[in-house]
Structure formats: C-alpha cells, structure tokens
C-alpha cells in the first residue's frame, strides 16, 4: 500500500505529469525522425522518403542475404569495380537503385576490413583484385594479428584478445540490419533524456517532505523511519523501471513496427569488423537499451541519496548532469587517463564503446570496458540504496519556524 500511494504521489504531481508527457512526446518525435530519416531509390531511379523506405531498402539489400563467402565477396568486388570504372563517381540514379544500393553495406564492410587499424579509405575496394577479395577473411586474420600486437599490452591481454577474436564466426552471415543500426543513436539520445527525467522524479521522492514541510508528520508516524523509507526507495526503483521501459518500448515499438526488424541476427562485425564484442546488431541495440536502464537506476539512486542528504530537489537534479555529462571532463583532468573510459557517462555511450578495444587488467584478470561498466554501475546503484535508507532513517529534524 505504501508503494502504491508513494507512486501515486509521484505521478499526481503536476510538474511531474507535465514533464512525463513532454518526454513521451519527445519519444514519439524521435521515432518519427527515425522512421522518416531513411530513403530508398527504386530500380527506375526514383528516390522515396516515405516511412516504408526502410522496409523496401532492407528488402532490396536482402538479395545478398546469406553467408558472405569468398565467392560472394569477390563477386561484389568485381561488380563494384566494374561500375566504378564505367561511371566513376557519377552513378546514374537508376543504376544506383538497381545495383549499387543493395551492395553498399557489404562494400563498406570490405573497406573496413581492409583498413584494419588504419584510416577508412572508400577506394580500398578498388585497389584489390576480386581474387584477393575472395581471401578477405585471411586478410582480416592478418590485421587481427597487428591489432593484438597494438592493443595487447601484456601477454594476458594478447591472449584475451586472441580468444575473443577466435570466437567470431566467419564467414559473416549477412542480412540487412539498417533498422537496428539506425536506431542506435535514437535509443542513446532518448536514453539520456529518460535518465534525466527519472533523476528529477526520484529526487522529489526524498525531498518533498522538506519542500512541503510535511516532514514532521512523516517522521512522527510509526514507519516514518523504517518501512516507509524502504517503500520510498522501492517506489523510486519501480518508477525508474516503469518510465524507462515505457519510454523505450514506445520508441522501439513505433520505429520497428514501421521499419521492420530485418537483421536482428546480423553479426555486429559486419559494421565493425574488428570489434571485440561478439554479438548481433539486434543484441547491440538491446545492449544500448540495457546500458540506459542501468544509467536510469544509477540516476535514481544517486538522486534519491542526494535529495535525502541535502533535503533539496534542486541540488539533486543537477546530479544526473554531473554524472552523465560532466564526468568525462572531470575524469580527463585527473592524472589517470586510463580510467576516463570508465566514467558513468559510458553507460549512455555504449554505441561507441563497443567499437573500441579498451582493455583493463587487474593482476592476471583481463576485462573489457562494456561488461565492467555495466556490472560496476549496477553494483554502485545497489550499494547506494542502503545509504539512502540510513540517511533518511537518522534524520534529525530541521528547526521549526520560530
């Protein structure tokens, strides 16, 4: 019952309602941007920017669906080279619609594999023979050796990287995953907005008693220093969970319903061939959403703690900004720069984290950035909760007005 009315209290506050509606509207707007952001060129060269463009694009690209064997890769390479020598940079729209568009994902991938750890070069595909393209996975193996030497600073790290790379299956399986990869940025952006909102609402849970001078009644009630505080904490977590997932479901629901879910199982390595995270594009999306959720919980618990300590919502609402926006700058100013990739803002930056090979080592234990950040901040959020309880439990009361 406590939790029910605590939640009621959060959701009946006028300002809270207003913000919530605003944030949900932003969610709808973002999905609209996502859905209308893509374009598709049909076989007669006409460009479509209608909401079904994404679906038609995926359909078109899925003519290459399947394992990208050496044969497929050399076929694409020679086609690409042919088109390039025929038209140079000015591909007629109809030709673009008929062939170029469908091969683009794979062409990018080939360039990406060829660059290894170097600069991206969009003419790399023109500088190999189709036979070499057929051996692309061998080229990749060679690049991986370089990368291991480059990034593995100790034997343990090199060993770790080698194991990770061995787990990546080749040849890659291709299915157009544009709807997933497009959504990475939208989910990240919306995650940040949700996390700030959740922090704000969570702060209110523990500062309202003081703001409204309702503290005397609260603390002189039977459970005012025990169960009711736990009820508040639980409400905060429930609120964060409900709002975060409702928001994300809204965004994902609208977007994927329109754009389709083609490519959930496409390996992430098609996009970033040397990523040390073995997963699919769909999993990457889910990972980004999960990172946001952990950020939401962290934001809720830190805001609750700050509000309980300072008794002021206005101080507490600044906390998410410090945590998720300013922390990288602060960390960069500190002497140990290895750690600036471990600041909490990384929870909301997973779309970039999975592209890089940040490794950390403690003794002989080697770990990657993403799992560490996820685990560490989940534990941090949980560890703060008892502090919130202690802080509110011991509240001596503010001086009465004279």
């Amino acid at each position: 019952m406590m939790v029910k009315y605590e939640l009621k209290r959060i959701f009946t506050k006028r300002l809270n309602r207003l913000l919530l509606v605003a944030v949900l509207l932003i969610g709808v707007c973002l999905s609209v941007f996502a859905v209308t952001g893509g374009s598709y060129v049909d076989s007669s060269g006409v460009r479509h920017e209608t909401p079904d463009a994404a679906r038609r694009l995926a359909e078109d690209r899925n003519r290459w669906k399947g394992e990208l064997t050496g044969e497929v890769l050399s076929e694409i390479t020679s086609k690409w080279q042919e088109l390039s020598s025929q038209y140079g940079a000015d591909v007629p729209a109809a030709i673009y619609g008929q062939t170029v568009q469908s091969m683009q994902d794979i062409e990018f991938m080939i360039n990406d594999i060829l660059r290894g750890d170097g600069e991206y070069d969009d003419s790399a595909i023109l500088n190999i023979t189709p036979e070499q393209a057929g051996d692309l996975y061998a080229i990749r193996e060679g690049q991986i050796e370089n990368i291991i030497e480059e990034y593995g600073e100790t034997t343990e790290q090199r060993e770790f990287l080698r194991e990770v790379y061995e787990k990546t299956d080749t040849p890659f399986y291709y299915e157009a995953a544009g709807s997933w990869t497009d959504m990475y940025t939208y989910a990240t952006t919306y995650g940040i907005i949700l996390v700030v909102l959740i922090g704000f609402l969570a702060a209110g849970i523990f500062s309202d008693e003081f703001t409204f001078r309702a503290d005397a009644v609260f603390f002189s009630a039977r459970y005012g220093r025990s169960k009711a505080v736990r009820g508040k904490i639980l409400s905060g977590l429930l609120m964060a969970t409900a709002i975060y997932w409702a928001g994300m479901l809204l965004l994902s629901g609208i977007s994927f319903a329109v754009m389709g879910v083609s490519g959930f199982g496409t390996p992430y390595q098609i996009e970033f061939p040397y990523s040390i995270y073995n997963m699919t594009c769909g999993q990457e999306y889910l990972l980004i959403v999960l990172g946001g959720y952990i950020a939401a919980l962290l934001s809720a618990s830190v805001c609750m703690l700050t509000a309980a300590k300072t008794r002021s919502a206005s101080i507490a609402v600044c906390v998410p900004f410090i945590l998720f926006c300013a922390s990288p700058f602060i960390a960069r100013a500190l002497p140990f720069d290895t750690f600036f990739q471990l600041t909490p803002d990384q929870l909301l930056n997973l779309l970039n984290c999975t592209r890089y090979s940040y490794l950390y080592q403690m003794g002989t234990l080697v770990f990657r950035q993403v799992p560490f950040v996820l685990l560490f901040y989940t534990l941090a959020a949980a560890a703060l909760l008892p502090l919130v309880h202690r802080c509110y439990h011991r509240t001596g009361i503010r001086a009465p007005k004279g």
């Binding site: 605590e6 009621k8 309702a214 039977r222 009361i397 009465p400 004279g402």
Partner: protein
C-alpha cells in the same frame, strides 16, 4: 497511561528553549498556554521524538520514548504547527498515504479515512486536491490525519491558528469529542480555545511551566480582583499605564474598563467574575500585551 517528563531541557546553541520541565500527564485534555516563543513547539517536538532533548527524558508507562521508537510512534498522533501536506494529492489519497506510513492495513485505513473525514466534515471534499482546501479545511485534514491510527497520545500544536471564530468553536467541539479515552496535549495562545475543554492548563513561560492546574484553580489563585468601571475617555491612557486592563469598551460618556487590581481602581468600580483570560493577562500581561478585543 502515563506520559512523564523529567527535567526535560532543550538548548539551541546558547539559548534554552525548554528548561527542566517535569510533569506527569494521563488521560484527558491538557491546554498548553504561552506567549510566542515560550517553548511550546519545542516541547511538543521532543514529545513526538522529532527533537532529541539536551537533558532529561520522556517516558511512556515507564519506558523511554526514544528507546520505544516505532512502538511509541504507533500510539502517537501529531498535528504540527506548520502543518505541511502534499499539494497534489486528493484529501482521500493524502489520508491513505499517511495511513500507509502509520502502518494501517488497507481495509482499516479505508474505514478510518471514511469515518474521520465524516467527523471533520470533509467527506464531500475527499476528491478535492489538498492545495485547493481553505486554511480551515486543511487544519481539519490535519486533525483527521493525526487521528488515523487512533492514537493514545494526540499532540496538537496550535490547531486553531488562523481560523475564524466559527471555525474555532467547531474545532473546539471536535477536539472535545475526539478527546475521550486519550491524552490530548493542545497548545495555543488563545485562552478561550482551552478554557472550557482542557481539564488541566499548563502555563508556560520562557521554557518553564510556571503554573499548572484546572481553570478554576488558576483563576482562584489570582491575587487580584477584576473590576469594571466607567471612566472619562481622556483618562483611559493613564489607567492603561497604571493597571492591567483586560478590556476597553467605548460607551456613551466615556470608556468602560475591565481592570485587574487588588483595590478598587476608581470610584464606583464593581467586582466582576474573573475568567481565565484575566489570569492570562495577569501572568503574561506585562510581557505580551494581550490584544484588547481578543475575546470571541
């Protein structure tokens, strides 16, 4: 059923707000009377475990209330002087929320809420938001809130502050009704609030109880009589300077004064029956300056 204070003291830095208060309270209504800053609120907050005493202790049936913790607060109802509420909750939801903090079961909470809102006359307004209640209605919600757990100890800090005379009388009756079978401690600086309903009156000054007793005891303990006399309007100022004057009323041909004095202050002065208000003036008079038409 015994609330005992022993040498209860509270210091704020170098200022002593409550000074070695000792007393025993049982069933009944106690009226705590004192001027602004006498220490009433501070005393009550200590009784509600919201402030730690600097010295001394409070016990309930022999047990230290700070050690009893939740089991003490279970039998406590408190209406603070600056009663704060959650503006966006409806009256009903507010009552249910407080019930939950007080540990009532949902069904009991619902029933108590119904009964109490009926009793304080807010039943029709139960769907209204707290922010949209008038001052008097808020106070009534405040009392209802304090009564939710059917407390054995009911602490009301200036429940009648800011109410109009009608509302105040209704309030007095309400408190009187609610007081059966519990200890009610009620603070005010308006004498008539407690004159008729309080069994025991505690006069508080500078952190101390300096006089306690029933209204009659306090009145009969006065060493001065109350006189009524009519004087020329020009002379009023000189009377005000020389005597404690509890009322000035303009009448044709002069002013009728109500004066506290041990001898007749003027020729033709008639003895009047003393009231608690006269006593209040006598004890606090020089310090407070009672408002001259403070009677209702």
């Amino acid at each position: 059923m015994e609330l005992r204070m022993e040498g209860l003291t509270k210091d704020f830095k170098d200022f002593r707000a409550v000074d070695h208060v000792s007393c025993v309270m049982g069933r009944g209504v106690y009226g705590l009377l004192g001027v602004n800053g006498a220490g009433k609120t501070t005393l009550m907050r200590m009784i509600c475990t919201l402030l730690k005493p600097t010295d001394g202790k409070v016990t309930w049936d022999g047990k230290d209330i700070f050690k009893m913790d939740a089991s003490y607060r279970e039998i406590l109802g408190y209406l603070p002087q600056d009663f704060g509420y959650y503006p966006d909750l409806t009256v009903q939801d507010y009552m249910m929320y407080i019930s939950s903090i007080k540990g009532l079961r949902p069904l009991t909470a619902k029933k108590r809420t119904e009964v109490l809102l009926e009793r304080v006359g807010l039943r029709k307004l139960k769907k209204r938001k707290m922010r949209n209640l008038s001052g008097g209605m808020k106070r009534r919600a405040g009392i209802a809130q304090a009564m939710l757990n059917d407390p054995k100890i009911l602490i009301l800090d200036e429940p009648t502050a800011g109410l109009d005379p009608n509302e105040r009388i209704r309030f007095r009756n309400l408190i009187s009704e609610l007081s059966e079978d519990r200890l009610v401690l009620l603070s005010t600086h308006i004498v008539s609030d407690v004159e008729f309903i309080a069994g025991e009156i505690l006069l508080m000054q500078e952190g101390k109880f300096f006089l306690t007793g029933t209204a009659d005891e306090i009145i009969s303990g006065m060493d001065q009589a109350v006189w009524r006399c009519t004087v020329p309007r020009k002379a009023v100022d000189s009377y005000l300077g020389r005597y404690l004057v509890s009322n000035v009323k303009t009448v044709p041909g002069g002013a009728e004064l109500r004066i506290l004095a041990d001898r007749p202050p003027a020729e033709g002065a008639a003895i009047e029956e003393a009231t608690l208000e006269d006593a209040f003036l006598l004890y606090f008079g020089e310090k407070a300056g009672v408002d001259h038409d403070g009677k209702i």
